[in-house]
């Protein structure tokens, strides 16, 4: 066990170097991009250079007075923002340290408690996040963000009824960007696309002029359009996000997928490569690999896929649980199928959400356990979510069970909703229907 960890740490250290050579991914933003001048300064989302400067200031304050709880709180939160901006998960470890130090000085500190809650969410440790969110709620039941931590955790634990009630409370006491975005997400889960769009538009208005947050809400709106095949509307939102916050990785990735939806794989590869250069998130790298594969460049695809394993290890070394994402990637790419089924089962126990259900269903189908797969697929679709990939999985499961008509119905439904729902699987769905 101990040896295992040592290897991981070594891998992580080595990895940083790898990532550095792979397009300057984990670098500090060196040249002041136009984003630095965006109205972000002073309002919500600081530009990357801002956050780095804020971190330096806070570190100096803590050197002056190591018992300065407020600075420790702010530092812990600033590290999380930095992780978001750079994709470098070592900031999670630093955030963890700062916030735990704050808590050791003041055990009932509100910001440290809810900050550790949001950190747990980022690390996909949802049960932990729920406990921390409830602890923060006990300290201050009137602070809206505590409901956000609790609700987000409940969603990922598949406890939707309680989650939606929590979001309703949050939006009832403090309507605004944070609560509107969560209401939108909940409506999307329930298959209410017009409602999800309406709520996200309120979030867009609330975020206007706030740099990263502004861009983020437009990307989210774009992703809702993308989920129902409205590629042009999606691309317009992503382009607007890049207009207000240039080089924004989330927008580059979303735009790549919108372009792929329109069938323009060349542009898609270009944007996804830029996204990966900014932040090497596994899902970006995986999409890039899929795009290379779909355009007849298996060598380049393989290179991307190899990178994913390395990044996952770096994430794990910094406390992030990646079981579900790893399982899905492995199943999709037929890597060690039986091991990935075990991983999907493990992930499901940690995260019995509709996504956990769906990944497990898919892993079961790919390994020929189609009866059990159908049970989980039904669970995955129990909210009425409009999700073409989940429809596709269900179709393949029905096919595996010999239910031809049901298979055709589900596959047709997936393609109707979102004709290019997946670079890998939409062509398969079309082939099966022929």
């Amino acid at each position: 066990m101990k040896r295992h960890r040592l290897i991981l740490v070594a891998a992580a250290a080595g990895l940083t170097a790898v990532a550095l050579t792979l397009g300057g991914v984990l670098h500090e933003s060196s040249s002041p991009s136009p984003a630095a001048a965006a109205p972000a300064s002073g309002t919500v989302a600081p530009s990357p250079t801002n956050t780095a400067a804020q971190i330096a200031r806070l570190q100096a304050a803590i050197r002056m007075d190591p018992t300065d709880v407020r600075s420790l709180d702010s530092l812990g939160l600033a590290y999380q923002q930095r992780a978001r901006e750079t994709g470098d998960p070592t900031y999670y470890t630093k955030s963890d340290e700062a916030l735990h130090r704050a808590l050791s000085l003041e055990p009932r500190d509100l910001l440290a408690t809810s900050g550790l809650g949001s950190l747990a969410l980022s690390r996909h440790r949802f049960r932990e996040a729920l406990v921390l969110g409830r602890r923060a709620y006990a300290i201050s039941p009137t602070t809206a963000r505590n409901y956000g931590v609790i609700g987000d955790a409940l969603v990922e634990l598949g406890r939707y009824h309680a989650a939606f009630k929590t979001f309703d409370t949050m939006a009832g006491i403090q309507p605004g960007l944070s609560s509107y975005a969560r209401i939108s997400h909940a409506r999307q889960l329930l298959g209410d696309i017009p409602g999800a769009i309406a709520a996200m538009k309120l979030a867009v208005d609330a975020a206007q002029g706030q740099g990263e947050a502004d861009a983020w809400t437009h990307v989210q709106l774009g992703l809702i359009y993308l989920s129902v095949g409205r590629y042009k509307a999606a691309a317009a939102e992503d382009r607007y996000a890049l207009f207000v916050f240039p080089d924004y990785a989330y927008a580059l990735d979303a735009l790549a997928r919108a372009e792929a939806g329109r069938g323009d794989y060349r542009s898609a590869i270009q944007y996804e490569q830029q996204a990966v250069n900014r932040i090497p998130l596994p899902q970006y790298v995986s999409t890039l690999g899929d795009l290379y594969g779909a355009t007849g460049r298996p060598g380049l695809a393989k290179k991307q896929y190899e990178l994913i394993g390395i990044i996952q290890r770096l994430l794990v070394a910094n406390g992030v649980k990646t079981d579900l994402e790893t399982a899905l990637f492995d199943v999709d790419h037929a890597i060690k199928l039986h091991a990935s089924l075990a991983l999907a089962r493990l992930a499901w126990r940690e995260r019995p959400s509709i996504d956990g259900d769906d990944v497990l269903a898919w892993a079961l189908e790919r390994t020929g356990h189609c009866g059990e797969a159908q049970r989980y697929s039904k669970r995955a679709l129990r909210l009425g979510t409009l999700d073409a990939l989940k429809y596709f999985h269900r179709g393949m499961i029905e096919g595996c069970l010999g239910h031809r008509a049901a298979q055709r119905a589900w596959l047709a439904r997936a393609l109707r909703l979102n004709p290019r729902f997946s670079i890998l699987w939409a062509p398969v769905a079309k082939r099966e229907l022929r």
Binding site: A37, P39, S41, G42, T43, V44, A45, Q54, D65, T67, R70, D73, L77, Q80, Q81, R84, L111, S114, S118, L121, S122, H124, S140, T142, T143, A144, R145, G148, V149, D152, V155, E156, F164, D168, A171, G172, I173, Q174, P175, G176, L177, S178, R182, I183, H185, R187, L190, L202, A203, D205, A206, A207, G209, E212, A213, D214, Y240, F243, V244, D355
Partner: protein, 506 residues
Amino acid sequence: MHPALATVRKPILAAAALGIFALALLLILTRAGGPSTAFASSHAEAPLISQDPRADNTDLYAFVSPDNTNTVTMIANYIPLEQPASGPNFYSFDDTVLYEIKIDNTGDGRPDIAYQFRFHTATRNPNTFLYNTGPITSLSDPNWNRPQTYSVTLVHLNKGGKQVGKGTVLGTDIPTPPDNIGPRSTPNYNSLAGAAVTTLPNTGGIKVFAGQRDDPFFVDLGSIFDLAGLRPFNPFHLLPLAAEPGRDALKNDNVHSIEIQVPTSQLVSFDSPTIGIYATASRQKVRVLQDNGTVEGHGPWVQVSRLGNPLINEVVIPLGQKDYWNRQDPADDQQFEPFYTAPEVSRLENALYGTLPQGHAGGALQAIDATGRSDLRTILLTGIPGVNFTGSTDADLLRLNTAITPGSNGACPGGTASSAQPDRLGPLGPSGDLCGYPNGRRLGDDVIDIDLRAFAQGYGPFLHTALGLPDKTPNDLLGDGVNTNDVPFSGTFPYVAAPHQGYEVP
């Protein structure tokens, strides 16, 4: 530092650091935008700590108009710390927010009248993201791609604070000026802004203006953030430094102002010339399962920000209750009274600047009572008897006695109109200028210094003689060293200075 001293100081500093939260970090969180962590799972990732600048009241001003003393001017500012060079996405009001200025004229803490402002942004050219595609030479210039207009509605409320009837629409499609971008985009800015000053027809002469302005607030945030430093008092701080003049952190910052000038007769009730004012921003409440008949942008509304007296949420209300405080109505402020009568700021002033035993050997301030401060309740929650008292109900309202009329420059030393310049310290200043804060609030009132002195029981000679309030010395000299705004105000509506231009300010 001597090691022995260090050990003595540490606990005090730790305590101060916690308390400083009151004065400094809270200022960051509410005024300056705080730690902005925006991360959740890779699925939701919605921000958890988000600022809401477009629905954030920064300051409220109310005064008897010096150039028209039959009227009262009320100015509610929103969107803190606007950087003039803020492209490509310039600041504006939020079309989905309900902005209100509310007036209690019966002394029960509940609003009787509310002026509601709703904005609408048009997109003149859907083919570009740009704010303007050429010089904006008039408010109807097609080069201005995102013009914003607004409506004003007068609403009456009953004793329970509920709206009576549908309200009276006082004006619609009222223009706002663009933001002040630069000599190419917005040449002749003052004429653009001037064209947006509107007298509403058939209202008895109500004037309105809404748009970008210079932020009239002035404060040395840089020093206050640094362990509640006050540069002129640097030598007396627990961690002493050489004295320095203050620096205005909001120099060159802009804000969005909603201004309304109303004939006094439309505001006061029969019983009393004193009115209590507060401004709010409200957002639409939404639910996961949509209620039937809900129209986006039309309520039901939840108040997300309010402001009566300056700095209450920043220096009086503790962190865990800030969200809650913003949602509460002034009429329910009695629940917060303990934070006023045992104020964190007074405790902090003792620790950081006080003499021994409550402070330190290098301190200067006389001992300040940190409990039992009924004086602060009077000033901030009920009004001052004989000046702007509204009754025994605790309510955070900006109270203005409209019968105390100023001279041509806005001053009334000792309560008598005079052509003298206003005293930045209002009644706490040597002239006892009763036309200033806390009797209403003029643009030039130095509320930071007034609050620092009031919390330190340094009320100045006038209020000491007139009302018997304590005037401890040198507590009555406290200040951040920033005494005036970076640019002068205008003597006529809309009074607040024109916004700084993006082209001129880096």
